[in-house]
Amino acid sequence: MDKFTELTAIAAPMPTENIDTDQIIPARFLKTIQRTGLGKNAFAAQRYDADGNEKPDFVLNQEPYRHAEILITYDNLGCGSSREHAPWALLDFGIRCVIAPSFADIFFNNCFKNGILPIRLPREICDELMDDARQGANSRLTVDLERQVIVRPNGEGIPFDVDPFRRHMLLEGLDDIGQTMAHDAEITSFEHRPSRAWVPSITIGTVK
């Protein structure tokens, strides 16, 4: 996973609530067996017409937002399906940071696991950042994870909260599995607790 330390980039404003993962990546594109290549179909229904031509009024089809690396939306971003294809599609498009007043739980988690930083900020602040984003190419935002602050184009700093464990993993570009495997002895001893004796095993030959 790529490290996330500091990002200075164009932000795309999407002033909409409940942007669900079916919108971010429609089901018909989930047939891939890879993580990459989904970016061209991110937001497919809003981005392309029935003939596959770009719809000019959709923000990510406009300059400079085609090059956006930050997305700002309203409440409940990423609701719906658990598909990790949603953050994969965003990442493949180039998005590294998503900002919203609230997120759906699974999507929020999935972002971290793919090197995307999700930031929760009050709606009024999202509105201010949305206004910055609307100024276009000369109005980049800087997201500094080390200092936990977003720097607006006017120089104002907006502090944000992030879970310390998640912050550490992002800053170092670490994956969870290796970390958890270091606790193998504890996992094994848990498995042998007498109180767990009731949990049946599923033998491979019995499933058919």
Binding site: P15, T16, E17, N18, D20, D22, Q23, P26, A27, R28, L30, K31, T32, I33, Q34, R35, A45, A50, Y74, D75, N76, C79, G80, S81, S82, R83, E84, P87, S102, A104, D105, I106, N109, N110, K113, N114, D163, P164, F165, D175, D176, I177, T180, M181, H183, E186, I187, F190, E191, S195, W198, V199, P200, S201, I202, T203, I204, T206, V207, K208
Partner: protein, 475 residues
């Protein structure tokens, strides 16, 4: 294990019994009892294991089945769509390589993962259950802590049999009283989502309680817990009780004999203690719930069947007003119109929300002696091969076929546009599934969520209508 004397909730108890270790910042390594795997969210996880030379830690706690991509037509034919075929072949290759138990496509036990797990006794009360699918919450009906995870977490569970999580907040939704005739678990859940909204449960696990919930059979409880995710919750739960034990007893992978009795004693001890603390409490009166449908493109856009579609002009917040307008445009509805009477093109009875034997019986009760309205395509997709066989043994297939319904093989089908069963642009569908998002059932398809009985009523009248009117006629 933290042993405390303060009263705990059902969620607290299951959680505490699965914490392997609590890390410094409060994140827990949580042990997983059952990992269900399907073809769409697992290929990249197995690939990750392969690349890092890792194995599946507990193949004997893992079960795979293909459901999302599979065509629901004749199973003896190969899958035509090359990408769907590749995804299923990839799953078959992966389960063989990693030694994971698998229900093959031609098996009578194949079906939607959230129907198969409980039906086989693979999912049991008191367990932690995960699957790379948000509707894993379904299994919470058994009194297990069950939630959806992303593909990175699928890989994490395959490798370590644990996940990293912080405890959720507790929410209790109590539905007290008795629902009227024609009102089902689906209507109760739509009413709950309408009340708390699609983000109402964010960060919470919802325990469903109250006399109306206790009175539901297991299929109804599964419908309820299934849609917890549509209320934004991490999971839904119903405390295990005698209804649960009677359901579990004798299932192929459930404990047997003495072991079953001992397990029941443990499961009984899991119910929330008197005085346990809930961060959020919501109460609904069962008598006030009437058959419901959704009008828009979010599950919270719900209306009682005698209601009218909202108008953007009634919404003070301009962003929200614009969203109502967009939903109306997408759905092809006028502000203020009555929802009843809206003509439908397609009726879909199926999905992990409503494809169990009890759901099919409820639909058949409405259909018996009637015929699908002209110009309507109506389909029944049982949740598993076993549900299909059981329904056929009762003659339900005949009721549906005689009435002009399609009677199909098990799978996710038209719940999401990933297999050949899809809406075409502009088609309007009464659907027993769980999501009415834009394009969910096919690009530009229009979805109205409702119960199996309501969907059946729409099929025979050709319109969204109050099933109670039809049932009255037959009495």
């Amino acid at each position: 294990m933290p042993v405390t004397n303060s009263p705990r909730t059902l969620f607290d108890k299951i959680w505490d019994d699965h914490v392997v270790e609590r890390l410094e910042d409060g994140t827990c390594i949580l042990y997983i009892d059952r990992h269900l795997v399907h073809e769409v969210t697992s290929p990249q996880a197995f690939e990750g294991l392969r690349m890092s030379g890792r194995r599946v830690r507990r193949p004997d706690a893992t079960v795979a089945v293909a459901d999302h991509n599979v065509p629901t037509s004749d199973r003896s034919k190969p899958i035509e769509e090359p990408q769907s075929r590749l995804q299923i072949e990839t799953l078959e290759k992966n389960v063989a390589e990693f030694g994971v138990p698998y229900f093959p496509l031609r098996s009578a036990s194949q079906g939607i993962v959230h129907v198969v797990g409980p039906e086989q006794g693979i999912s049991l009360p008191g367990m932690t259950i995960v699957c790379g699918d948000s509707h894993t919450s379904t299994h919470g009906a058994l009194g297990s802590l069950a939630f959806g995870i992303g593909t990175s977490e699928v890989e994490h569970v395959l490798a370590t049999q644990t996940i990293l999580q912080k405890p959720a907040k507790n929410m209790r939704v109590s539905v007290e009283g008795k629902v009227g005739p024609g009102v089902t678990a689906k209507d109760i859940m739509l009413a709950i989502i309408g009340r708390i909204g699609t983000a109402g449960g964010t960060g919470h696990v919802i325990e469903f309680a109250g006399s109306a919930i206790r009175g539901l059979d297991m299929a109804g409880r599964m419908t309820l817990c299934n849609m917890s995710i549509e209320a934004g919750a991490r999971a839904g739960l119903v405390a295990p009780d005698e209804t649960t034990f009677a359901y579990v007893k004798g299932r192929p992978f459930a404990p047997k004999g003495e072991a079953f009795e001992q397990a029941c004693d443990y499961w009984r001890s899991l119910a929330s203690d008197d005085g346990a603390y809930f961060d959020t409490e919501v109460t609904l009166a069962a008598e006030e719930i009437i058959p419901s449908v959704t009008w828009g493109t979010s599950p919270q856009n719900v209306l009682p069947i005698d209601g009218s579609v909202p108008s953007p002009s009634d919404e003070p917040d301009p962003a929200r007003a614009a969203q109502i307008q967009r939903a109306l445009d997408y759905m092809g509805l006028e502000a203020g119109q009555k929802i009843a009477g809206t003509p439908v093109d397609v009726v879909f009875i199926g999905s992990c929300t409503n494809s169990r034997l009890e759901d099919l019986r409820a639909a058949a009760d409405v259909v018996r002696g009637r015929h699908v309205a002209e110009g309507v395509r109506a389909m029944i997709v049982p949740g598993s091969g076993l549900v299909k066989h059981a329904a056929e043994a009762e003659g339900l297939d005949k009721v549906f076929l005689d009435a002009g319904f399609e009677w199909r093989e098990a799978g996710c089908s038209m719940c999401l546009g990933m297999n050949p069963d899809r809406l075409t642009p502009g088609q309007r569908c009464a659907s027993t599934s769980n999501r009415n998002f834009e394009g969910r059932q096919g690009p530009d398809g229009r979805t109205h969520l409702c119960s199996p009985a309501m969907a059946a009523a729409a099929a025979v009248t050709g319109r969204l209508c109050d099933v109670r009117e039809l049932v009255k006629e037959t009495v």
